[in-house]
């Protein structure tokens, strides 16, 4: 399995910050160093944010070495990219800076986002018996649902992501435009999101691989920033105003022109709202947009600018862009939708073996007995995120009661 978040053991001090922030409790501290259970990791990037010592970083792909393999190199900038530059920076200037990095063609993700928004609206209108629908474009929340809320699978709207759609359309366009074969075309997605890296290297269901490489935005930001220079005669493919809204939480619902929706951002809030859906409380809502990062994709860990400033920048861009730019791909929407182009097949969740309740109760009773001995401070010093998880780790033979600092101090 490819892992999108690199961990530098040397830099780790075993401080427990990442462990306590991890929404799936995938991290333990052993012998003063963090250990990640990759099976539980949803690649949300909370650990990158939580670490004060820079022990976590995006996987470093030397993408520039890869560009030589292709005759045509396409860059797909994420909808968040324009908000990462000082207010008033011309969108054409940013696109040309991307071309100067060595790309032949820029396909703006916002067009794909507008198409997916249309598909969201249509699917919601056509399927009145499923409520609420949940978005599937945030790979971190998608994996969270897969691991922690498998019963909500039936609520997933199951549409491909704008990244995925942009990859397919950009490749088609380049194939026709330059008369090339697929293998000669390289599609590079510039992303603010660590989970998007994994969505390409280890996709869920039939997603992927329409994008060949994913470039973390902060890896190329410095170089890009220097190339953002105002020039005459710039080539520009304007973004979709509707699609650009996707960069901020609530934007995809607005882009889809929904009126009855709830938009939630930030991992803790997302978990709370998923619990509510599980209790059947939001069956009167059409669409629930759940995004792992604060403020939505503008809060992604590979961004450079503060999420709130970036949201505001994005709003400024939407208010100041002139005209109604068009893209010929939009005209094909009905045809593409009817062909099932946007659908993505979510794999069936593994059927659980019939459990023996008697044994499960016995196990829980034993864990409870261990928990009763522990101090209940959830300090994390033992290397497990909570006293309950420590008790479970002890039961599973992965830790001992002697790891508890409080018990040791008192004895």
């Amino acid at each position: 399995m490819n892992f999108s978040i690199m961990f530098d053991k040397e830099k780790c001090r075993g401080c427990t910050n990442c462990m306590k922030k991890c929404p799936t409790q995938a991290i333990r501290i052993k012998n003063g160093k963090a250990i990640i259970d990759h099976k539980k990791c949803i690649h949300c990037g909370e650990c990158i944010r939580a670490c004060s010592y820079g022990a976590y970083s995006p996987e470093c792909i030397e993408w520039k070495n890869e560009t030589n393999a292709y005759k045509c190199k396409i860059a797909i900038p994420s909808t968040t990219i324009y908000g990462q530059f000082p207010r008033g920076t011309d969108i054409c200037v940013v696109q040309n800076a991307i071309l100067k990095l060595g790309f032949d063609y820029v396909y703006d993700e916002s067009w794909a986002a507008e198409l997916v928004a249309k598909a969201i609206k249509k699917k919601i209108d056509n399927n009145k018996d499923i409520r609420p629908f949940i978005n599937t474009n945030c790979p971190a929340t998608l994996r969270l649902i897969n691991i922690r809320y498998p019963s909500l699978t039936e609520n997933l709207i199951a549409l491909k992501t704008p990244m995925e759609i942009a990859g397919i359309l950009a490749r088609n366009n380049a194939r026709k435009k330059f008369n090339l074969e697929d293998k000669d075309i390289g599609v590079f997605y510039i992303t603010p999101c660590p989970a998007k890296l994994l969505a390409v290297t280890d996709p869920i269901g039939n997603l992927g691989p329409s994008v060949d490489w994913v470039i973390p935005l902060n890896k190329i930001y410095g170089e890009l920033y220097q190339k953002v220079v105002k020039e005459d005669n710039l080539i520009c493919s304007y973004p979709s105003l509707s699609g650009l809204k996707w960069s901020v939480c609530g934007g995809q619902s607005k882009s889809a022109k929904l009126t009855n929706f709830i938009a939630v951002n930030g991992m803790e809030n997302v978990i709370q709202i998923l619990e509510e859906i599980e209790n059947g409380k939001l069956s009167g809502v059409d669409y629930v947009e759940v995004l792992a990062c604060v403020q939505g994709c503008v809060g992604g860990t590979f961004n450079v600018i503060n999420p709130f400033i970036a949201s505001s920048n994005n709003k400024y861009i939407l208010n100041t862009l002139d005209g109604e730019p068009i893209n010929s791909d939009l005209e094909c929407f009905e045809k593409l939708y009817n062909k099932g182009f946007f659908e993505f097949e979510f794999p069936d969740t593994e059927s659980v073996n019939k459990i023996n309740i008697k044994e499960a109760l016995k196990k829980n009773e034993e864990i409870k007995q261990i928990l009763a001995i522990l101090p209940g401070l959830d300090c994390g010093s033992c290397g497990s995120p909570t006293c309950l998880s420590h008790a479970e780790d002890i039961y599973n033979g992965q830790s001992t009661i002697f790891e508890c600092v409080v018990l040791r101090a008192n004895s």
Binding site: P150, S151, N279, G280, K281, I357, K358, A360, L361, N364
Partner: protein
């Protein structure tokens, strides 16, 4: 053997207590999850238990909810001390509600409680008179 009660969780529900409303359903849900029960079953239980809990808070004078675990099924029993449902048949109609405006403003009382309980349980039993309402919901595992 299959009919042996393996474990009973019981909860005291206080009338009009919106501070702790929903706590019991969260507790039950996390307990059943930790037992490794199929998530589809847990979702049904979460929905019916939550409806039962909120019903007691809004409509009853208080009562108890039990969640009984058997090898092949889970039975939820909701038992209150009154005032009873005037017209059970009417209360079973989707959208019918006797909740006050104040309760609706809090986002509760949309009138789906009983129909939802019936929809998500395999066996649904209800008895009601002025001394209270007894609901028994069986969900097979």
């Amino acid at each position: 053997m299959a009919n042996d009660l393996l474990k009973r969780f019981s909860f005291e529900i206080t009338s009009n207590d919106f501070i702790t409303a929903g706590k019991s359903s969260s507790y039950i849900k996390s307990n059943l999850k930790s037992l490794g029960i199929d998530s589809k079953v847990i979702r049904k239980i979460a929905i019916v238990f939550y409806e039962a809990e909120i019903n007691l808070v809004i409509h009853s004078l208080g009562g108890k909810i039990y969640c009984d675990l058997y090898e092949d099924k889970i039975i939820i029993i909701s038992k209150d001390i009154g005032p009873g449902i005037d017209n059970v048949e009417l209360a079973m109609t989707e959208g019918y509600s006797t909740a006050t405006d104040k309760v609706r403003e809090l986002g509760f009382g949309a009138g789906m409680g009983l129909p939802n309980m019936k929809k998500y349980s395999d066996i649904f039993k209800i008895i009601s008179d002025k001394n209270g309402t007894l609901i028994e919901l069986t969900i097979f595992i």
